[in-house]
Amino acid sequence: MKSRHKKLLVILLGLSGLGIATALILNAFQSNLVFFYSPSEVAEGKAPLDRAFRIGGLVEDGSVQRDADGLTVRFVVTDTAKSMPVVYKGILPDLFKEGKGVVAEGKMGADGLFNSSQVLAKHDENYMPPEAAHALEQAAKAQQTLAQ
């Protein structure tokens, strides 16, 4: 009888622990439904400027600059309509590249510079061998020259 009660207690504790964890996760889920804001949304004042938030977009071509200390990186995040300058000190993910997707977490400075504490790369769902990617690139270039 005693061991039965013990078993029931353990299970009840486990289930309630699971319930609490689920509630916490649902809370995280709800507050992260908007995982990042685009530069346009930030410009429209949709982002919470008084606390940390994430911005997402593409790293603008030719915008990446490294400071002399070798750790600080400056780049511009764009959604092609609006863009935002970002400064970040730390290690960048392997897929961080100009023209590719990025999500940066940080706070907006008074000077309009986004001070980032974490930079994540956001890649697309395309998978192909390098030769195929190269061929696609060439085709796109050829089309561009034709259009001109």
Partner: protein
């Protein structure tokens, strides 16, 4: 012989016993084939280099985690609606494998996210809803373990499964409905796959292997459950006596 005779636990017990080796062997061979494609035929990826090879486990495991849950919900609904004993047993037999695949999807996702995104984990909608799926599996299994009365346990567990089923479309469509760090689907019914053919083939072979594995394992489990619940029937007694 009518179709519903298969729904009798006795017939199903014997049928399952005959099917298990077929599914198990197919699963094994398909896994070998799938691994061969994954590592020796599929070329490197233009963006992610060799790290992308995690996809050959990650995506099949994630599919299975959602699919098994839907099948469990289906059997649970059938059981609740028609009070068929076997459907509850099927639901119980699937849950541990579903939980295993959910864990594998999360684990391989973390190992993929760290080098590519730059983080083991983020609380975006896709990852968070998949974690909730793991909690649902664990919660359902715990509930079944906690209720000694078989009938009551069946009903309570299946009810929880059905309530939690809302989470599956949330997982699947999260990358479309909300902005997430997780990329969209490479394969869907509405557009051509955005993957090289051989990569896609490897992923599909691994997915079919996971399917067959799940069926084999679930059948082994359901036979055990059937024998346990039917041990007072003549056929079950004959098995227990004959198999000394």
């Amino acid at each position: 012989m009518k179709l519903y005779t298969f729904a009798s636990p006795a017939t199903f017990y014997h049928l399952a016993g005959k099917l298990i080796p077929w599914f198990a062997w197919s699963a094994g061979l398909l896994t070998l084939w799938g691994l061969y494609i994954s590592f020796f035929l599929a070329p490197t990826d233009f963006q992610q280099s060799e790290a992308y090879r995690i996809i050959f486990i990650h995506v099949p495991a994630a599919w299975m985690s959602m699919f098994i849950y839907l099948v469990m919900a289906f059997w649970g609904a059938i059981g609740l609606a028609f009070n068929t004993r076997l459907s509850f047993m099927m639901a119980r037999a699937l849950a541990p494998t579903g939980a295993m695949f959910t864990f594998v999807a999360l684990w391989t996702g973390a190992l993929w996210g760290k080098p590519m995104w730059g983080a083991w984990w983020v609380w975006d909608a896709r990852l968070t809803s998949e974690l909730i799926l793991l909690f649902l599996y664990v919660g359902i299994i715990a509930l079944w373990a906690a209720i000694d009365d078989v009938k009551r346990g069946d009903r309570a567990g299946s009810l929880l499964t059905l309530i939690g089923a809302i989470n599956v479309p949330i997982i699947y469509f999260s990358v479309i409905w909300w902005n997430t760090l997780h990329q969209g689907a490479s394969i869907s019914v509405t557009k051509a796959p955005s993957m090289a053919a051989i990569m896609l083939q490897g992923m599909l072979v691994m997915a079919v292997a996971a399917w067959f594995y799940t069926i084999a394992v679930a059948l082994v489990r359901v036979r055990r459950i059937i024998l346990e619940r039917e041990r007072h029937t003549e056929w079950a007694k004959a098995i227990l006596e004959g198999d000394q």
